[in-house]
Amino acid sequence: MTESVDTRVDLGGIALRNPVLTASGTFGYGTEFAPFMDLAALGGFVAKSLTLEPRSGNPPPRIAETPSGMLNAISIENIGVEAFLNERLPELPGDVVVIASCFGTDPGNYAELAERLSESPRVAGIEINASCPHVKSGGIEFGQDPRLLGELVERVRGVTSKPLLVKLSPNVTRIDDMARVCEASGADGICLINAVQAMEVDVESRRPVLSNVLGGLSGPAIRPIALRMVWQAAQAVSIPICGVGGIFTPEDAVKFMLCGATAVQVGTANYLNPAVGREVAEGIAAYAARHGFPRVADLTGALRLPGAP
């Protein structure tokens, strides 16, 4: 029965064989997962956020476990755009859909990065990381100020004809305003949420558990927050939405689609189960079949609100 379900979706011009991507920073540069699954079983993956130059991260401790979640303050440690294009991309099988994530400190270097990435036919789309919660400058500054966000998206839009996604921060008062700004500035889609700004303390040592003091919370603990924000964003814009935050099971993913997401990204769950992306994709198709949806795309927005039949 599952075979008869059409699993394809279109995420702002990126044709995906199924709606499951894996999230930036949780899937390395892809090849790390080759021992565990056929990467082509995913809709695609978003590579670790890149900067123009290679970049080193924060001192340890960088991670800590919290109730049903984890904190991280890695700080966009990455190999830089040139090593990504020249060394890592060529290692990936041709049928794997790769989305590149850009990180910068001003619109100029975001744009330069996007321009460079756009030269590669292997890059299916670009995700602007406007939401890293624990880098001293850049990222979240853009995701928290609608005017700066608009400028950033416009600037990058001007240099790329690739499908352009914007990854939003949950650390804002009105997510719908941020979503509207992206739509108005030329984004083809939005992804939300990035990790939630958070903190944890070790009482015995009286020290913050992370060297960076603040970190980003991810995992099942943030899923209901992410779901709420996807729902609100979906009410506000008509560009497609990619739901991210605490997705561990096919049912979790379906919830995001029902609330208006066209696709989803699986993040922290990859650390526990490196084949989780494939399992979620298969489970979504099985859900669609079980509930009589001929296409998984029909799940998008199919929430039954109170009072509706």
Partner: protein, 280 residues
């Protein structure tokens, strides 16, 4: 940012393993024996990530992350079969408590083998293996394989007798065993480094060191090795989320610049590559 150790020989797998045995070994220590389908075998120093709780509790999200555990001993599975692989674990928190509570017949998810291995002992040298607390578990395979080629000395230490692991297994090997406890409840009273200093004073072929244990202990071994110009390999026990190089959470600063991933380039490093000062 890499080291000179041999790369991990086998592709890691993700499988459900069956608990064959989970025996108490002194207060708070457990010997967990798993039947792992298709296990490719591990090199000395390699580890697995064990998900706390049985896999029937797949919905469990708290505690969330898998726990790194050294492969204590075990051979590769015969083709199409399962291998019996042993782990020695100490209950230090909620994750290890759940692992200690697993009953025979339950199944558990794991990913492995992971990480780099100790470079083998050099024939003709005196290999001195220093294990502290849970670090002892990383050294058994090295001691066992090394004994055929070289003079192997093992120093195992812990705070108290109950914190030691696997002592009887080491004593059954063709190696020279020294036990230390800080409270004197077993072996000589003191630290592993006291026993190490004494061994190094005794006449004999040139020594090389292998150490795994708490960071201050490994740092002390690294200092001794540097002072006496000895080769020293250490196996680090950093916090980990994934274990296979994608979360970047296990980074350790290295002298060649920047950070190295303990789960991928490590856990085994030449001691002089690690920037010890300021490590948590």
């Amino acid at each position: 940012m890499t080291n000179s150790n041999p790369p991990a020989p086998s592709r890691p797998l993700r499988v459900a393993a069956e608990v064959l045995e989970n025996a108490v070994e002194g207060p708070g220590n457990h010997r967990l024996v798993l039947a792992i389908p298709g296990w490719p075998g591990a090199e000395p120093g390699q580890f697995v990530m064990l998900s706390p709780g049985g896999s029937s509790e797949a919905e469990r999200t708290d505690p969330l992350l898998p726990r790194p555990m050294a492969v204590y001993r075990g051979h590769a599975a015969a083709r199409g079969g399962r291998a019996e692989v042993e782990f020695l674990l100490k209950v230090t928190g909620r994750g290890t408590r759940l692992l200690a509570d697993l009953a025979p017949g339950q199944s558990i998810r794991l990913v492995g083998p992971l990480g780099s291995a100790f470079a083998p002992v050099v024939p003709g040298k005196r290999a001195i293996l220093v294990g502290g607390g849970t670090g002892i578990a990383s050294l058994y395979e090295l001691a066992s394989r090394g004994a055929a080629d070289a003079e192997v000395h093992v120093i195992l230490g812990a705070r108290s007798e109950g914190d030691l692991m696997g002592v009887d297994d080491f004593e059954a090997l063709e190696v020279d065993c020294h036990i230390t406890t800080e409270d004197g409840s077993r072996g000589r009273k003191g630290r592993v480094t006291d026993a190490l200093a004494e061994l190094l004073e005794a006449p004999g072929p040139p020594a090389e060191l292998f150490a795994c244990g708490p960071t201050p202990m490994m740092h002390a071994c690294a200092k001794i090795a540097q002072e006496q110009r000895l080769e020293c390999q250490v196996s680090l026990e950093n916090n980990m989320a994934c274990g296979f190089g994608v979360c970047l959470g296990c980074a350790v600063p290295v002298h060649s610049g920047g950070y190295s991933l303990v789960c991928r380039a490590g856990p085994v490093y030449p001691a002089d590559q690690v920037v010890w000062e300021g490590l948590p």
